[in-house]
């Protein structure tokens, strides 16, 4: 799964098949040029090596997936759309900047929705619930942590 901007800037990449870094960069470059060179009236699928590429543009961002020949292209568009909906719900009308500044959140969301390249949860509500719970956990532990830090400092001072 790749996300990149209209200018060809990479915003998010997620690999479900292992490749060395160099190959990854090469593939990304190749795909970005390929997709960006397509005109708006062209269809969202293209064949690339032995894979199919499905992409869709949302505002200034392209969402791009490589799928196997047996996979359903039309459904892949739905998967992309579902991911966008999830981001939208989470950020409240998402834009490219949200994803740039909170790229880790976008990753977390993707990881709750897909795993190993397959959809793991079809309910939007469940995904968002899981993310919300984890965000909460993150904050709680930060507070706990701050308390600990505070204690340490006071201990230091008393010494």
């Amino acid at each position: 799964m790749l996300l990149f901007s209209r200018q060809g800037k990479l915003r998010l990449q997620k690999w479900y098949v292992a490749h060395p870094d160099k190959t990854k960069k090469k593939i990304v470059r190749e795909l970005v040029t390929l997709v960006l060179s397509r005109k708006p009236k062209m269809c969202s699928f293209l064949e690339w090596k032995d894979l199919k590429i499905v992409y869709k543009r949302y505002a200034s961002l392209y969402f791009c997936c490589a799928i196997e020949p047996e996979d359903n292209e039309l459904l892949t568009l739905e998967i992309i759309h579902r991911y966008v909906e999830l981001l939208d719900k989470y950020f409240g009308s998402v834009c490219e900047l949200d994803i740039i500044f909170n790229f880790e959140k976008a990753f977390f969301m993707l990881d709750e929705f897909l795993l190993g390249g397959e959809v793991q949860e079809t309910s939007k509500k469940n995904v968002l619930k899981a993310i919300a719970a984890q965000d909460l956990l993150q904050e709680v532990s930060i507070e706990e942590y701050l308390v600990c830090l505070g204690l340490q400092e006071s201990i230091c001072r008393t010494h």
Binding site: W15, K39, K41, L74, L75, F103, V119, T122, L137
Partner: protein
């Protein structure tokens, strides 16, 4: 030490960098401070630093020095640290890294953590970067987690099992018992992932597939519940209930029902139900219909259902959404052979798609159109396709031409139409035509005796307009050479006679030989044509002689050789000239040659440099009856009429061809050395010539081993008659791109294999010549032959490495 920058500030700073160099400065500075901080073992800001590093990594800068820091974060008790740590691990590590051993331990600990979200992080990471070792180490834990009662963990564990099986198929056995009961679950996430896991298992092992066949009724029930269930906003996508799950189930049904009547029978009803009940106002409905069509076509379904499926695709073709049209064409192409008539009904729509603005759609439509041509619709279809050929992108032209030639040969209503069609290709596709089309066209024209006059006039007219199109000029030169006397015939029905004189013809051919736009092969065609014309024309003979003498000093070896040879005929053997330049005898071919020709064409014909050697070679073809060609007669004449050597030189290439097979080539070459400069001889004895003989001697089976980016590698296979269990393969590589391929290295691996040295390391462009190499395989066990290929070459300045595998060897080679 100062507090490190916040992630947000860093991103802002990088974004405000005006040039790439500015950005690099910011990043380098930040990387340095992150490194410092890592070195100081700073725990407070490690998380922030790693997060920044991940952003930097995404911009394409090296960030591998953060790998160990990720592991430290993972080991931290804080959830925030773990969350970023695992994210970093997924992005910075891939399964090739040594750090993997370290992370496996952390994963093991976290998989049994009491907080489900920490377990989830570990599972997710596993799904992303699971390596073979990791799969083996953690499979036990995952299997336990599949049995968990917590749906959140369960679904993730199931997908981890899916990843493990992908990596290490041997581990499948241990997951089967746990998988059996999974379909009883209610949770969609669990159901979806289970179907996914079962699909993977069934695809990997036929035994498991058989085992899971009994799940069909259960799957049918789940699907039924899905479409019957009322509105449940949670899983719906624009009114369709959980399409993700539906599609997955349909796909599994397809695998389970394949070649199994009972299973197919069970699912017939539900398939019909889904097909008719799905709302098709949105993309998502089409996604399901698409999957269902594939399933209907993939299983042993009823005839009525199949027609329904093709009609669904027909409706797709009319859809406004280009994605849906593309999918429909793609699928029709897959099913066209199964349900020919059903697809035929949508022909008009398909032909319309040739005009689609989208390249992918046009390509599919073109392929499908060719699949749909038959003798009833050929005229109409060809009109559309020829129009398409004129307007289409260059990348389509070669394929399109070859396919038109095949189709025309198969279904042409009459010869005149056939010749017209092929000629239209020659004039409209120009240099994109593959060289096999040239030979096929020549063969076609030669066969059609009644239309010689018509063909040659048409071709000449076309060549007059444009003599830069190589294939056209080659065919035209050949025909002018052969049938030049008919150029001035005025009896051709409903065609205006050509207003030309002999010298116009010679002028044009001279231009062809002279222009830098002509390839060497074309020049050879043209010079031979000129020579032939010297027997057909009267007034221009002295001019022809002049031209030939001019090219006797050409720097091109072939041209020079030919010109010298031809000039010698004039000077020494003028009394034989007319006999030498007789019309070619008709080449007798089997009917299938046209189609084989498209594949085998290059090998058989490419090496033929001109029409004279063609006769001989054709006569030598084992498939063609051995009729005594006139060249053979001439040879006898030549020997009986005096010196003889010179005549031998005239047919030198051919003699060599003949003798190459018969054996004693040596005495001949000695003979020739006395008379001729050494140059041309080298050319004649070059490996290419030898390889030519090998190929011609083979009544071999042909396998296309590799075809990519214009490089085509074919195998002509033959069992070695001398040695039991040995197979001899002639590898022939051709290059259809406009640039030469250099430094070509071909490697192959099979049982016991010896590679002889190749004929060259260069493949000339535009299929003008080929490279050959002989492979011998020793196969005492008589196993099916498989071969792995590795190909390296330099093309247009770039170094290219390719790998391939050939499994399609015909079984007669080892049985």
């Amino acid at each position: 030490m100062p507090t490190p920058k916040r992630l947000r500030d860093l991103i802002r700073e990088i974004r405000s960098a005006r040039t790439a160099a500015d950005e690099r400065t910011v990043v380098n500075k930040e990387c340095a401070s992150i490194r410092d901080s890592f070195r100081d073992q700073d725990n407070t800001y490690r998380c922030r630093n790693v997060a920044k590093l991940l952003y930097i990594h995404m911009l394409g800068y090296p960030a591998h020095f953060g790998q160990l820091e990720c592991l430290k974060l993972i080991a931290s008790p804080r959830f925030t640290d773990k969350r970023i740590g695992y994210l970093g691990a997924m992005l910075l590590l891939d399964e090739r890294q040594d750090v993997h051993l370290l992370i496996t331990n952390s994963l093991k600990n976290d998989l049994s953590h009491q907080t489900q979200y920490i377990q989830s992080l570990a599972l997710c990471t596993m799904g992303s970067i699971c390596s073979t070792e990791m799969s083996r180490d953690l499979a036990g834990e995952i299997e336990k987690m599949i049995k968990s009662s917590n749906a959140y963990i369960k679904k993730k564990a199931i997908l981890c099992a899916f990843c493990i099986i992908r990596k290490v198929p041997d581990l499948m056995e241990m997951f089967i018992p746990a998988t059996r009961s999974l379909l009883n679950e209610k949770n969609h996430g669990v159901l979806l992932t289970s179907v996914c896991l079962i699909t993977e298992m069934c695809e990997r092992s036929p035994d498991t597939l058989h085992h899971f066949r009994k799940l069909v009724p259960q799957l049918v029930r789940i699907l039924k519940n899905l479409i019957m269930a009322g509105y449940s906003p949670e899983h719906d996508v624009s009114g369709v209930s959980d399409p993700f799950l539906q599609v997955k189930i349909l796909r599994l049904l397809r695998i389970l029902g394949k070649n199994d009547n009972e299973a197919s029978e069970t699912m017939n009803d539900i398939l019909a139900q889904v097909a008719t009940n799905t709302d098709t106002s949105k993309n998502v409905g089409h996604a399901i219909l698409y999957e269902i069509v594939l399933t209907i076509m993939g299983i042993q379904s009823e005839a009525g259902l199949r027609v329904l499926a093709v009609n669904i695709l027909g409706r797709f073709l009319l859809n406004n959404d280009k994605n849906i049209r593309y999918v429909a064409l793609n699928t029709l192409l897959r099913v066209v052979h199964a349900d020919y008539n059903a697809v035929q009904r949508h022909r008009t729509t398909i032909v319309d798609c040739l005009k689609d603005p989208d390249v992918s759609i046009r390509r599919r439509a073109m392929e499908l159109s060719f699949a749909l041509i038959n003798s009833n619709n050929i005229r109409g279809m060809m009109k559309e396709l020829l129009h398409f050929l004129e307007t289409c992108d260059p990348e389509f032209k070669a394929d399109c031409c070859s396919n038109i030639v095949i189709a025309a040969a198969k279904y042409s209503p009459n010869k005149r139409w056939h010749i017209d069609t092929v000629m239209k290709i020659l004039t409209s596709a120009g240099n994109y035509i593959r060289s096999d089309v040239v030979t096929i066209t020549i063969q076609l024209i030669a066969e059609t005796t009644s239309l010689h006059g018509y063909s040659v006039q048409q071709l000449f007219r076309a060549m007059q307009q444009d003599y830069t199109q190589q294939p056209l000029v080659q065919v035209a030169s050949w025909c002018v050479g052969e049938y030049g006397d008919q150029l001035f015939s005025t009896t051709i029905e409903d065609e205006e006679p050509l207003q030309i004189s002999e010298s116009d013809v010679v002028d044009l051919l001279e231009k062809v030989v002279g222009t830098a736009n002509s390839s060497v092969v074309t020049k050879e065609y043209a010079i031979t044509a000129l020579m032939k014309l010297s027997a057909r024309f009267t007034a221009t003979v002295p001019r022809i002689r002049q031209v030939l003498e001019l090219y006797a000093t050409s720097t091109n070896m072939e041209l020079q050789q030919r010109s010298v040879e031809y000039s010698t005929i004039f000077s020494g053997f003028d009394h034989l000239r007319a006999a030498l330049l007789e019309h070619m005898p008709l080449i007798v071919t089997h009917h299938h040659t046209l189609e084989n020709g498209l594949e085998a064409g290059d090998d058989e014909y490419l090496s033929e440099r001109d029409s004279i050697s063609r006769t001989n070679q054709q006569n030598m073809q084992p498939s063609a009856p051995r009729q005594p060609g006139n060249i053979l007669d001439i040879l006898e004449n030549g020997q009986s009429s005096g010196p003889g050597e010179m005549t031998k030189i005239t047919g030198a290439a051919d003699l060599l061809d003949l003798l190459g097979d018969l054996g004693p080539a040596q005495p001949l070459s000695n003979n020739v050395v006395n008379v001729m400069p050494v140059g041309p001889l080298d050319g004649m004895l070059s490996p290419a010539t030898q390889a030519k003989n090998q190929i011609n001697g083979t009544a071999g089976l042909q396998v296309t081993a590799f075809e990519k980016n214009g490089l085509c590698i074919r195998f002509l296979c033959e069992r070695d008659p001398g040695v039991v269990c040995a197979t001899v393969i002639n590898m022939i590589a051709t290059n259809s791109t406009p640039f030469p391929i250099t430094d070509f290295v071909f490697q192959a691996a099979s049982f016991q294999l010896t590679l002889q040295s190749p004929s060259s390391s260069i493949i000339p462009p535009l299929n003008t010549d080929n490279l050959t190499q002989v492979i011998r395989i020793n196969n005492p066990q008589k196993q099916p032959i498989r071969m792995r290929l590795k190909i390296n070459y330099i093309h247009n300045g770039s170094n290219i490495n390719e790998m391939g595998e050939v499994n399609s060897f015909p079984s007669v080679l080892w049985e």
